[in-house]
């Protein structure tokens, strides 16, 4: 299988399509892993753009941002699988993980496409630079959540335990966001300026 065709298949899965030929379990595993590895590269691009105010920050972000994304996903995934099992959802853990991987790929794809815009605004606008950088993250998170919900909804269509599967999606997304908040704080500074997210949960939800 050529890498190019694999990428095309990954895009097909991400937008909710079906693979042209009957696919094996090994092929699905390959695509899921490829989705995660591609997500790391794409989030690294955003990190470089968001940290372009200084060379040191930019270089640090090239590995910090992918690690933050990966660690958040790894922290949230076990809870999502447990929720899936406990609720007796009609979705296999492997299918949940696969949908999660492709949705992260979709989200980081949005991040990477917005990276040049974030970088140019960061250097040319004092008012819009930071809000745009944060906004691009929220857009990516919304996109990834939507893709994840849609992917799981399509896979469980017509199967019993549909609601339970979507509950597992909700739990997984909530835990991903909770983990992301703290990993971002731990890895800060990611954006040159101080944001509420630099202080993690304590600062974001401070009274």
């Amino acid at each position: 299988m050529e890498p190019r065709s694999q990428f095309a298949q990954l895009m097909t899965l991400t937008v909710g399509g079906e693979l042209a030929e009957p696919s094996s379990r090994a092929q699905h595993t390959m695509l899921s892993v490829l989705a995660i590895l591609a997500s790391l590269a794409l989030s690294s691009m955003w990190g470089v753009g968001a940290g372009s105010s200084s060379a040191a920050l930019s270089i640090a972000n090239a590995y910090k941002v992918p690690l933050v994304v990966l660690l958040s996903a790894l922290t949230a995934l076990p809870a999502g699988v447990v929720a899936l099992r406990l609720t007796g959802a009609g979705l296999a853990a492997r299918e949940l993980a696969s949908a999660f991987a492709t949705s992260i790929f979709g989200g980081t794809l949005v991040l990477a496409t917005l990276a040049p815009l974030v970088a140019i605004y960061y250097h040319t606008s004092s008012a819009a630079g930071v809000p745009l950088a944060l906004g691009s993250v929220f857009i990516a998170l919304a996109t990834a959540s939507m893709l994840f919900g849609r992917a799981v909804a399509r896979r469980v269509a017509g199967r019993p335990g549909r609601r339970a599967s979507l509950l597992a999606v909700g739990i997984l997304v909530a835990l991903f966001l909770a983990a992301l908040l703290q990993y971002v704080a731990l890895a800060s500074p990611i954006i040159g300026d101080v944001t509420p997210f630099n202080g993690g949960f304590d600062q974001v939800f401070a009274r």
Binding site: A26, V33, L37, Y183, L186
Partner: protein
């Protein structure tokens, strides 16, 4: 000077180091899983080709 959760900068740096080590280990594991899946896929493909060849021979 304290940072997140009232912990020192050294403590937070150690936490980040451990977390990053887990992340790197996960990346290595993902690469291993990918290579194993690719090898399995190649075997499946070879089996399919052999099966098709036998079927063609049998039809002749």
């Amino acid at each position: 000077m304290t940072g997140l959760g009232g912990h020192t900068a050294d403590h937070l740096a150690a936490v980040w180091f451990v977390a990053a080590a887990f992340g790197v280990a996960a990346i290595v594991a993902l690469v291993v899983i990918y290579r194993r899946a690719a090898a399995h896929r190649a075997l499946e493909e070879a089996e399919r080709v052999i099966e098709d060849a036998y079927r063609e021979d049998a039809e002749r």
